[in-house]
Amino acid sequence: MAKGMVIIDVERCKGCGLCTHVCPVNILELSPDTFNAKGYRPVTVTDMDECIGCAACATICPDVVFTVYRQRRQRATATA
């Protein structure tokens, strides 16, 4: 079961590729064959089951493309 999940706002993406360099499980890549309305190749997820919900992608994205979800911890602890 996936530990995390991201939602991508395709139209905001400028295809800069920064997120693809920081994803620790390497599941982000620029779309090889589609374009968004601005003409950029937007980022896509190759295998969402691998996502760990670390939000590294959202931390580096200059265009606020990502919404990130993560599996709840069992015990209630404060998140960093």
């Binding site: 920064l18 931390t59 580096i60 200059p62 979800y69 709840r72």
Partner: protein, 262 residues
Amino acid sequence: MNTTTQIPENMELVYQYPDSMTKTYTHYCPGCVHGIVHRLVGEVLDELDLREKSIGVAPVGCSVLIYNYFNVDFVEAAHGRAPAMATGLKRTNPDKFIFTYQGDGDLAAIGTAEIIHAANRGELISTVFINNAIYGMTGGQMAPTTLPGMKTTSSPGGRDCKIAGYPIKMSEILAQTEGAAYITREAGTDIRSIRKLKKAIKRAFLTQIEGLGFSCVEVLANCPTNWNMDPWESMLWSKEQMTPYFPLGTYKMREEVKALKV
């Protein structure tokens, strides 16, 4: 996009679009650190619940249109004069939160006098200072912060410090002023530094809210377009080339600022 995605029951939201920002697409080039820092400012305005009481002061430079991207009031200053405008705003509206957002051409060239004297007077304003070692908006001319030997459109043979002087270290200078309460240099180029940068912005904003004095966060950034690099390469270049000349670190932090809970 209106596709509704099913969120599994066992998942919780860990990152979403900041409320303090509009949904307007920015005009910045792909991979520009201006976008990252805007987002951090938006997150901090949200977390400190400052949206309804903030007035931003926009600079001249690539971030001249910053007011389109935030759900807060903004005024536009003449080139370099943001700290002077912010001074007037704060003195006449002491209950408002006033911040400037400035590039290195704006703050460290034409606006050097304004920022130094605002800091020296200990104005209760906060400044976010983006250092990308170049004039981005006007086409990549040499800035006071351009590195020795660095090629720009106005120094095609590389910056010759014998003629153009040396890159100016603004955080070190501002830290010398009596009125400065918190002066730090951070970077916006990798995950760790971005997380640290957000804390610094929060500390700087809290410094004003608690009435402790002037605060400024310098951010080592990038300009992939005028550096002629792809975005990731520009992040690495910023870290490898800019950091040795502009060391990261806190240059001034009064005890009361240190005691703030961030």
